[in-house]
C-alpha cells in the first residue's frame, strides 16, 4: 500500500479547470516535491489529499483510504500545514501547540521527542503570541503543530514561500530529519532550486504534471548542450542572441544568459565569433550542465508547442 496515490484526478472551480487529470504515487518514507508556479494546481491537490475537496473525477487514496468515503479516518492520521499561516495569531506559541495536541487527543509531552528538534528552537519564545513571530519562526511553529499527533503522512503546502533564504535552508534540514522518522512527506514549492532537496519531484504547470522522477534524472532529459554566456551588457546580449539565426532558446539566468543552439555540433568559438562580429568585446561562453529550472522551462515550451 502506497501512502499516497492519485489516479486521474480532475478538479474544476466553475469554468476553470485547476487540476487536469493528474496521477502520481508516493512511496513510504519519501520526501516528494510538487514543484511549480502559482496556479499550477498544487494547492488543489493538497486539498484533495487532505479531504478538504472532493475530486470531480478520478480517485485519491491516502494510506489506502479513499479521500471521499473515508475522510474521517484519514483526518486522524495526517498532518497538514496549509500555504497560508493558519494558526491562532492571538494565542501564544505554547498555547497553539497545546491546543492542536488536545484536538488530536494527545499532549505535548506524549509526542515531545518527535517535535523536539523543531520546538526546542521556539521554546525561548513560548509565551509570545504567534502573530508576533517572524516568518521563519511561524513556519517552525506551524510544522510543530502539524506534527504534534505523530502523523504518518505530512502535507506541507508551500512552507517556504515568502521566507528568507536562511530560514528556508533550515526548514529543509528539518524535513530531512523527519524523513528519518519514516514519515512520508508531500511538499510543494514554487522555488525551482528546492527540487534538489526532494527524493522525487513532480514538475507541475497549468494543472498538469510535466514530469515525475528524481531531480537528477529529470535534468538528464535535457538533451541539448547548454551554454552560459556573459558580456558587459546583458540586455544587448539577449537581443543579439535572439536575432542569431541558429538560436533555439535564450533565457537570462542570473548574471549569465542560458543559450541553446539549433545546430548539432556547435563550439563555443562559433558563438563567440558571432558576438564579436556584432561588436561585443570579450564575451564569456561556457558549456554547462542544465539544472531543474532549465529543464522546467524546456518542458513548459514543449507543452506549449504541443497545444
Amino acid at each position: 500500500m502506497k501512502p499516497i496515490s492519485v489516479h486521474h484526478a480532475h478538479k474544476s472551480y466553475g469554468a476553470k479547470e485547476a487540476v487536469k487529470g493528474i496521477s502520481f504515487e508516493v512511496d513510504e518514507g519519501l520526501l516528494f516535491g510538487l514543484i511549480g508556479p502559482d496556479g499550477a494546481g498544487k494547492t488543489t491537490i493538497f486539498r484533495i489529499l487532505t479531504t478538504l475537496l472532493k475530486p470531480d473525477k478520478g480517485e485519491a487514496l491516502v494510506l489506502g483510504l479513499d479521500v471521499v468515503d473515508d475522510y474521517r479516518q484519514i483526518r486522524k492520521h495526517v498532518g497538514y500545514m496549509p500555504g497560508r499561516f493558519s494558526l491562532y495569531q492571538d494565542l501564544s506559541v505554547e498555547e497553539n501547540v497545546a491546543f492542536f495536541a488536545s484536538v488530536f487527543g494527545t499532549t505535548i509531552d506524549a509526542n515531545y521527542d518527535l517535535i523536539e528538534p523543531i520546538y526546542s528552537q521556539l521554546e525561548p519564545f513560548k509565551d509570545r503570541l504567534a502573530g508576533a513571530l517572524s516568518g521563519g519562526m511561524k513556519q517552525k511553529l506551524a510544522l510543530s503543530c502539524a506534527l504534534i499527533h505523530k502523523p504518518e503522512v505530512l502535507f506541507l503546502d508551500e512552507p517556504t514561500t515568502g521566507v528568507d533564504a536562511v530560514s528556508r535552508k533550515e526548514f529543509w534540514q528539518m524535513l530531512h530529519r523527519l524523513k528519518e522518522e519514516n514519515i512520508t512527506i508531500l511538499v510543494s514549492t514554487p522555488y525551482m532550486d528546492e527540487a534538489e532537496q526532494c527524493d522525487r519531484v513532480a514538475l507541475m504547470q497549468d494543472g498538469q504534471i510535466l514530469s515525475i522522477d528524481t531531480p537528477e534524472r529529470i535534468t538528464k532529459t535535457f538533451h541539448n548542450q547548454l551554454w552560459a554566456i556573459k558580456t558587459e551588457n546583458k540586455y544587448q546580449l539577449i537581443q543579439l542572441l535572439r536575432s542569431y539565426e541558429y538560436a533555439e532558446s535564450v533565457q537570462p539566468f542570473g548574471e549569465y544568459v542560458h543559450y541553446t543552439d539549433k545546430r548539432e555540433e556547435v563550439q563555443a568559438e562559433h558563438i563567440m565569433e558571432y558576438l564579436k562580429s556584432k561588436g561585443v568585446i570579450n564575451p564569456t561562453v561556457v558549456a554547462i550542465a542544465p539544472d531543474i529550472e532549465d529543464t522546467f522551462m524546456r518542458l513548459m515550451e514543449q507543452e506549449e508547442t504541443y497545444e
Binding site: T51, L52, D90, S102, V103, G105
Partner: protein
C-alpha cells in the same frame, strides 16, 4: 475493549474542553470587543433610559373654547394641572391654528364646541377636537393619546361609571399597566432582545467566520474534531456572556430606573435562555452560509438587528404597521420574546398564558439548529 472506548470518549472530551478554553482565551484577549460586549448593554440602557425619552413633558397647549362655561373650564384646568401639558393661552378663531403650528411653539390645540355644558347635561355627546402638530408624528400621536385619556378619565370620574363608547382601549391599557406611561418600562424588554441578538447571533457568526477567513478552519477540518464539537465549543462562551448581560440589564433596570418587575424571575431566566439559544442558532446558521467576517456582520446587522429594532414592536407598535410588515414581524424571534418579557415584567403572566409564544421560539430554534447542522460543511466546498 471498554477501556479503549473510555479512552476515546476521554479524548473527545479533552478535545472539546481544549476548544472551549481556547475560545475563552481568544475572547478575553480581544480587549476591544470585550469592552464593547460588556459596555454596550450599559450604555444602551442609559441612552434609552435618560436620553431618548418618548414621553410627553410639558407639551404646550392652546385652547379654543367656543362654550366658555364651567365644565370646559374645569376640563382645561385638569389638563393644565397634569405634568404633561401646559395650557399657554386661548385663541378665538379656528383659522389661527395653522399660523400657530407654523411658529412651532404650540404642540396641540383643544377645540371645545359651543354649548358644551348644556349638551352634556342633556345627555348628548359634545365633542372636543384634539388637533396636533403632526410634523413630528410620534410625538403628535403620544400627545393625542395622553390628552384623550385625560378627557376620558375626567368623564368617567364625573359620571361615576365607565362610558364604553368613549373609552379608548389603547389608552386604557397603557394607563392600567404602565400608569406613569414611562417609556423606559417598555424599552427594557426590547433592549434585552436587541442585546441578546447582538451578542449571541452577531458575535458567534463573526467568530466562526473568522476561523474560516484566517484559515484556521482549514486545519480544524483536517483533524478529528466533529462539526458538533466545533459548533458547541464556539457557542458555549457566548451563552455565558449573553446571560451575564441579561443580568446586567435587569440590575440596571431595577436599581437605576426602578422599572417594576412583577413576574417570576425563574420564568424570565428560562425564557431568556431560550431566546439566547434561538439567537445562537441563528448566528451559527449565518456562519455556515457566510465565508468572511464582513458578510457575516452585514447579514447579522441588516438581517437581524434592524428588524429586531424596527419590526419587533420594540419601538413601533406592531398593530400600527401596514399588514405586510405585520406579517413579516411574525418571522422575527424578538417579536415573540418581547411579548413574553413584557408580560412577565409588567403583568406577571405565567407560562400558561405565554405557551404559544414560547412554543414559537422553540420551533424556530430547532429549525435553525437543523439547518445549521445540515449546512455545516465538512469540506471547503
Amino acid at each position: 475493549m471498554p477501556n479503549e472506548v473510555n479512552n476515546r470518549i476521554q479524548n473527545k472530551i479533552a478535545a472539546f474542553v481544549g476548544f472551549v478554553v481556547k475560545e475563552f482565551k481568544q475572547i478575553y484577549r480581544d480587549k476591544r470587543t470585550l469592552v464593547v460586549l460588556f459596555g454596550m448593554p450599559i450604555i444602551q440602557m442609559l441612552l434609552f433610559g435618560f436620553a431618548i425619552r418618548n414621553e410627553v413633558e410639558n407639551a404646550n397647549i392652546m385652547v379654543l373654547d367656543a362654550s366658555q362655561d364651567q365644565v370646559t373650564q374645569e376640563l382645561i384646568n385638569k389638563i393644565d394641572a397634569s405634568n404633561y401639558f401646559t395650557v399657554v393661552g386661548e385663541i378665538q378663531r379656528y383659522d389661527k391654528i395653522d399660523d400657530l403650528f407654523q411658529k412651532g411653539n404650540i404642540d396641540e390645540v383643544l377645540v371645545f364646541e359651543a354649548d358644551f355644558a348644556r349638551k352634556l347635561q342633556r345627555g348628548e355627546r359634545p365633542s372636543v377636537n384634539v388637533i396636533t402638530d403632526a410634523s413630528n408624528p410620534n410625538l403628535a400621536q403620544l400627545i393625542q393619546q395622553y390628552s384623550t385619556s385625560i378627557i376620558v378619565d375626567w368623564q368617567q370620574r364625573r359620571s361615576g361609571l365607565p362610558n364604553e363608547q368613549n373609552s379608548g382601549v389603547v389608552a386604557n391599557a397603557n394607563m392600567l399597566f404602565n400608569p406613569q406611561l414611562k417609556s423606559v418600562n417598555l424599552f427594557v424588554p426590547g433592549l434585552i432582545a436587541v442585546i441578546l441578538m447582538l451578542i449571541s447571533a452577531l458575535m458567534t457568526s463573526i467568530s466562526i467566520t473568522r476561523e474560516k477567513e484566517m484559515g484556521n478552519m482549514e486545519i480544524l477540518l483536517v483533524s478529528p474534531l466533529r462539526p458538533a464539537q466545533i459548533i458547541i465549543g464556539k457557542v458555549l462562551p457566548y451563552l455565558v456572556l449573553a446571560f451575564v448581560n441579561v443580568l446586567t440589564v435587569l440590575a440596571l433596570a431595577e436599581w437605576v430606573f426602578a422599572v417594576p418587575f412583577r413576574g417570576s424571575y425563574g420564568l424570565f431566566m428560562v425564557e431568556s435562555l431560550l431566546f439566547i439559544f434561538t439567537a445562537l442558532a441563528l448566528g451559527v446558521f449565518i456562519s455556515t452560509k457566510a465565508n468572511d467576517q464582513q458578510t457575516a456582520m452585514m447579514v447579522a446587522l441588516a438581517g437581524l438587528l434592524l428588524p429586531t429594532v424596527l419590526l419587533s414592536g420594540f419601538i413601533f407598535p406592531i398593530s400600527s404597521m401596514p399588514w405586510p410588515l405585520q406579517w413579516i414581524s411574525n418571522l422575527i424571534p424578538a417579536r415573540w420574546f418581547l411579548v413574553i418579557v413584557r408580560s412577565i415584567m409588567l403583568k406577571d403572566s405565567s407560562l400558561l398564558l405565554l405557551w404559544k409564544e414560547t412554543l414559537i421560539l422553540l420551533v424556530m430554534t430547532l429549525g435553525f439548529i437543523v439547518l445549521s447542522v445540515k449546512n455545516f460543511k465538512v469540506r471547503l466546498e
